[in-house]
């Protein structure tokens, strides 16, 4: 179980997140939603200990930063330089870097995990391709394969559904369900809004503070949207169940 207690983040005196407390149970698929600049990515980074923060993050009762092998992080695609000279295979192999240890080359087990993860996201045939020659959806699947190959218990994904094709979306939804059935915990940050959000077991609505934490139907109300967006609410935001937030 992931427990976040009173997590606060501030950058140069400006508060980005205020006293966030939440818990995620094993097998739960949780969506993290909110307007742009709400602090969704910052919350994920703070949970991982990648942003300076106050508060406590425990996984199964022990600080998460002491057991990083049990957590995997899928960064936003825009954070990566896709011209970097590396192949699909070597990106997925990065999942083994920590477990192999310094100076060790990947053995058969590492290769098996990498191969299986690539096969699961239907990218094994493209394993030797440079990442710069992939479509957005294929890039996202490579990162998902890297997360799978790490065999973690907690998955934190930053905007995995942004700019992808239908095939990738179907594969990801399928894999999320599979991981959830294996009692893995998933926190997925998303700026979507609409029926797609029903795929989650629970939604966290964020805008610097945690505004709602409940089943999708209970979170996706007009009242909550107004609280999250305030006066910046897009004018065409009249039918929340069919709207997508504009980035």
């Amino acid at each position: 179980m992931l427990e976040v207690e009173n997590l606060s983040v501030s950058y140069r005196g400006i508060s980005a997140l205020e006293a966030i407390s939440l818990s995620l149970m094993p097998g739960e698929l949780v969506g993290l939603i909110g307007p742009n600049g709400a602090g969704k990515s910052t919350l994920i980074k703070a949970i991982l200990g990648l942003a300076p923060c106050q508060g406590q993050v425990l996984f199964n009762g022990i600080p998460l930063r002491r057991q990083r092998r049990r957590v995997t992080y899928v960064p936003q695609r825009s954070q990566i330089d896709w011209d970097y000279p590396v192949t699909v295979w070597n990106v997925v192999m990065m999942a083994q870097t920590k477990s192999l240890g310094w100076g060790r080359r990947p053995g058969n087990e590492a290769k098996r995990l990498t191969s299986a993860a690539l096969d699961r996201v239907d990218m094994l045939t493209l394993k030797d391709r440079p990442i710069g020659q992939l479509s957005g959806g294929q890039q996202q699947r490579v990162f998902l394969a890297r997360a799978l190959a790490q065999q973690a218990e907690l998955f934190l994904l930053d905007e995995p559904f942004t700019g992808i094709d239908k095939k990738t979306e179907a594969i990801m939804v399928d894999i999320f369900a599979e991981l959830s059935a294996q009692q893995k915990t998933l926190l997925v940050c998303s700026h979507e809004w609409g029926d797609n959000l029903n795929r989650y077991d629970r939604l966290l609505l964020l805008n610097r503070k945690l505004l709602a934490d409940d089943r999708p139907q209970a979170v996706m109300t007009m009242d909550n949207i107004q609280r999250a967006f305030g006066s910046n609410m897009p004018s065409r935001f009249t039918q929340p169940r069919t709207m997508r937030l504009v980035s």
Partner: protein, 285 residues
């Protein structure tokens, strides 16, 4: 063939060529890490920032290499500090740091009445390379190549996706410090051969040319090193026969290599891709 062997009759030329080959192998390997992190100018920062260290080391009668190394490392810390403590972006932080350190270096060289030859430091001096210098460059090269080989997968992960690497538990601050150390050492090693200003060219140009010829990091290093050695040798011979300083001769050769890669790279060349498009057009017709 006599023209090829003739320079080898001189001790200074043999030493210069050996140092050139070593630097030609080393600098592109280190430069590759700078390029893939889009930090090519950091090499320039460190190269300029070694000057105050050289002046102080000369004044205190301690090894120049040590002074240059400490000074170069401080400049990387200052650059990072400015960037993290304010909204000033990395390129601005680098420009501020390198010009300030360079100015401080020149001021110190003047006020401490240093006997160091500024021109030699800036542009290199093949006549001045001693056997001890060659050994020093050799040791630095071997040590860095072994370290890069040993930590390759960690360096690959770190330079590709720093946040991902940190999230997975890799000690990113230590890796970054290691990289800065390696960059500073390579610059200090290249100082004698091509000078502090042009050592940057040896780090960046061959690796950049290699990046146009391959799609894998280790190949970028190996092809870069090949081009680095080739350019060093051609530049040294040009320096010998045409009586021009070695640093600029090597740098201009490197630029020609880069230009050739830019125009004729099989996959990404400006001319080759133009021709292949035209060919594709013809076959469609």
């Amino acid at each position: 063939m006599d023209w090829l062997l003739d320079p080898l009759n001189y001790d200074f030329m043999r030493q210069a060529l050996m140092a050139g080959v070593l630097i030609g192998v080393l600098c592109p390997v280190v430069g590759t890490f700078l390029i893939v992190q889009q930090m090519a100018l950091l090499g320039d920062v460190v190269a300029h920032a070694v000057l105050p260290g050289l002046a102080i080391a000369n004044f205190l009668q301690i090894p120049l290499l040590l002074g240059a190394f400490i000074s170069g490392m401080i400049s990387t810390f200052v650059t990072t500090w400015i960037q993290t403590q304010s909204k000033v972006k990395i390129d601005t932080a680098m420009a501020i740091t390198f010009s300030s350190f360079f100015a401080l270096g020149i001021t110190l060289l003047t006020t401490l009445k240093s006997r160091l030859d500024l021109e030699e430091l800036l542009f290199g001096d093949i006549l001045g390379i001693t056997v001890a210098d060659v050994w020093q460059v050799g040791l630095i090269t071997v040590a860095i190549l072994i370290a890069v080989k040993f930590f390759y997968k960690e360096l690959l992960f770190f330079t590709f996706d720093r946040l991902g690497a940190e999230a997975s538990g890799l000690p990113v601050n230590a890796i970054n410090l290691g990289l800065m150390t390696v960059i500073t050492l390579a610059i200090v090693a290249g100082m004698k051969t091509v000078g502090v200003i042009l050592v940057m060219a040896l780090m960046i140009s061959p690796a950049a040319a290699a990046s146009l010829l391959t799609t894998e990091l280790h190949w970028m290093m190996m092809i870069g090193s090949g081009l680095g050695v080739l350019s060093s040798l051609i530049g040294m011979y040009m320096s010998y026969f045409l009586n021009i300083p070695s640093g600029p001769a090597i740098t201009l050769t490197l630029f020609v290599c880069f230009l050739l890669a830019l125009l004729f790279s099989p996959s990404q060349g400006v001319l080759t891709s133009h021709f292949s498009m035209a060919k594709g057009q013809n076959s469609l017709d």
